[in-house]
């Protein structure tokens, strides 16, 4: 029998300090997440210097909780893993320095992991992945279609040319008077409203797999401003439903285009926006309509946002490949696949 692998993993790329213990890249023994949302809500969005300061306040306490909850000691661990990009450089550095220090102090191998790969591999914590599989990565910082050909081998098929989808939610949320992060509330309002404004679906006619959300965001804002000027009362629920309707059409159009080019057995939807109920519903229906024999994998809500367990999941693949880093690891804020 193969020996179990236990990885202590760190994630601090944005406004969550998270430390986890993951067994064999599959089983979460602990996944401590300290979120700073309440702090950044004061400013209407994440302030990098404030985020870095909070990470320093939280990091050792999170390590302690993660080890205690997993009921393991340093002797039980096989490696330490950390997100080294993409993300906010000042935030990334705290997780990186803490992870390097633990690896150094206890003589453990160090693994540097890609945050985006982590999001995709959050699926590994809830399903048995079959290669190749397709991933739709949707979050505040990213909107990508990624084909995963083999363990840890990624090919980006499509990317956003401007805003990330989660970013667009936050920007139109501000117009609706919703505090950051706006995604959840817009999703809830959308469920109550109707798509009556017919906002543009950018690039859906184009035969590529890229996204654009800035035009949609602008039409939304223009529509609201115009209504303000002529004292027209618009239903916020209808506005939300119309915005979300356009977003879902764009996402659905591009992901099924990708699936047509690369038929696979599994579609993973990951990242913060994967928590969106409208998106979950829509993709389920689309697969049914198209009669596709394909498993749709949405990680549970807790694993959609940033968390260290997903880093433990991708790090296991790197561990198996002996893809280790040294103590000179630095942050790479604009890392891609």
């Amino acid at each position: 029998m193969k020996k179990d692998t236990l990885i202590l993993s760190f994630e601090s790329s944005c406004d969550e300090t998270s430390v986890a213990v993951v067994k064999n890249g599959k089983e979460i023994l602990s996944n401590i997440i300290a979120t700073q949302i309440k702090s950044h809500q004061r400013f209407g969005g994440v302030v990098p210097e404030v985020a870095s300061r909070h990470h320093v306040e939280e990091v050792t306490h999170c390590i302690e909780l993660a080890l205690n909850e997993a009921k393991v000691t340093y002797d039980d661990l096989d490696a330490v893993a950390v997100t080294y990009g993409p993300g906010l450089v000042g935030s990334l550095l705290i997780g990186i320095m803490a992870a390097k220090t633990v690896a150094f102090a206890h003589n453990l191998p160090l693994i540097k992991s890609n945050h985006l790969a982590g999001h995709i591999y959050s699926a590994n914590l809830v399903a048995d992945l079959e290669y190749p599989f397709m991933a739709l990565l949707v979050s505040g910082g990213h909107t990508e279609i990624v084909l995963v050909r083999a363990p840890g081998e990624f090919e980006t098929l499509g990317d956003t040319r401007d805003d990330a989808v989660g970013e667009a939610y936050d920007k139109i949320g501000r117009v609706l008077g919703i505090n950051y992060p706006a995604g959840k509330q817009v999703d809830e309002m959308a469920a109550k409203g109707n798509d009556v404004f017919d906002f543009p679906r950018a690039m859906v006619q184009e035969d590529n797999l890229d996204f654009s959300f800035s035009g949609l965001k602008s039409s939304f804002i223009n529509r609201v401003h115009h209504a303000d000027q002529v004292h027209e009362e618009l239903s916020k629920d209808d506005l939300a439903a119309s915005f979300q309707g356009a977003v879902l059409d764009i996402l659905s159009n591009k992901i099924f285009r990708a699936l047509k080019q690369h038929p696979v057995k599994q579609l993973v939807v990951a990242g913060g926006v994967a928590a969106n109920q409208g998106l979950r519903q829509r993709l389920k229906e689309d697969i049914k309509k198209r009669n596709l024999d394909m498993e749709l994998i949405f990680p549970p809500l807790r694993l959609c946002g940033d968390n260290a367990a997903m880093i433990g999941a991708i790090a296991q693949i790197q561990y198996d490949k002996k893809d280790f880093a040294d103590l000179q690891v630095n942050a790479d804020p604009s890392l891609d696949f």
Binding site: K38, S39, R42, S52, V56, L93, A105
Partner: protein, 240 residues
């Protein structure tokens, strides 16, 4: 007692291992290197040179700021994680005090960190029978205010440490007779940091140990300016 001391609060990096008052190994770099890349390998180097392993260390001494926000965070994160993970004692020392420790014993020492736009982080120290005494607490100040504050001292006794070219010009106008050590000649000495740390209380709550920034972030400053107040009960970071 064996002490591992390090300071990355500004451009230079200083690391040392000190055992019962003797510096076993020290490493100083003035070149602009990336502290996040070099700090742990440099700690490893001084330990190896001292024929020690990290577990032999009894006390971690760190320069906790003020200084470059990123720089002090790197050192403080490594220090608190080491202390936490190996259950070692931890002491934080003012980065300005570390600079003052290398000053002239007969002078009134004014260590500085340039905070741009004619501002600085500054403190005032004096050596008394081998120990630094803090005369004016470390604070963030405009240079004009600081230079005014220093009028109560004999200007010929003043020694400014770690003055950038801009700060040097400002000081010279007010105190042409003062000694001014340029930033290039004002390197923190980790050996001296270790020595200061021996006299300071050990930090009892490692988890809450954070850098001494001496300044709010711009965003928080603006938020308070708008009349907001921190609700005493609110916790801005929550476990979820």
């Amino acid at each position: 007692m064996k002490i591992l001391a390090f300071d990355t609060s500004n451009k230079p990096l200083a690391v040392a291992v000190v055992s019962d008052g003797n510096v076993l190994a020290t490493l100083e770099s003035t070149e602009k290197k990336t502290h996040s890349v070099t700090l742990l390998p440099d700690i490893q180097k001084v330990l190896t040179e001292s024929n020690l392993v990290i577990n032999d260390i009894d006390l971690i001494a760190v320069a906790k700021g003020p200084g470059s926000y990123t720089g002090v965070r790197i050192a403080v994160t490594v220090a608190k994680t080491l202390a936490f993970t190996l259950k070692k004692n931890l002491v934080g020392v003012s980065s300005l005090e570390v600079l003052a420790a290398d000053g002239d014993e007969s002078k009134i020492l004014v260590p500085l960190m340039d905070a741009r736009n004619d501002n600085a982080f500054a403190g005032v120290y004096q050596m008394h029978s081998g120990e630094l005494v803090n005369l004016i607490e470390d604070h963030h100040t405009s240079m004009a205010k600081l230079l005014d504050l220093l009028k109560k001292y004999d200007s010929e006794k003043l020694e400014f440490i770690n003055a950038t070219d801009n700060l040097t010009d400002l000081i010279k106008k007010e105190y042409p007779e003062a000694v001014i050590l340029n930033a290039k000649d004002s390197l923190p000495k980790a050996g001296k940091l270790a020595k200061i740390a021996e006299r300071k209380p050990v930090i009892s709550d490692v988890d809450s140990f954070v850098p001494t920034y001496l300044r709010l972030t711009q965003a928080e400053h603006d938020w308070y300016e708008k009349g907001h107040k921190k609700d005493g009960n609110i916790s801005y970071v929550e476990e979820v």
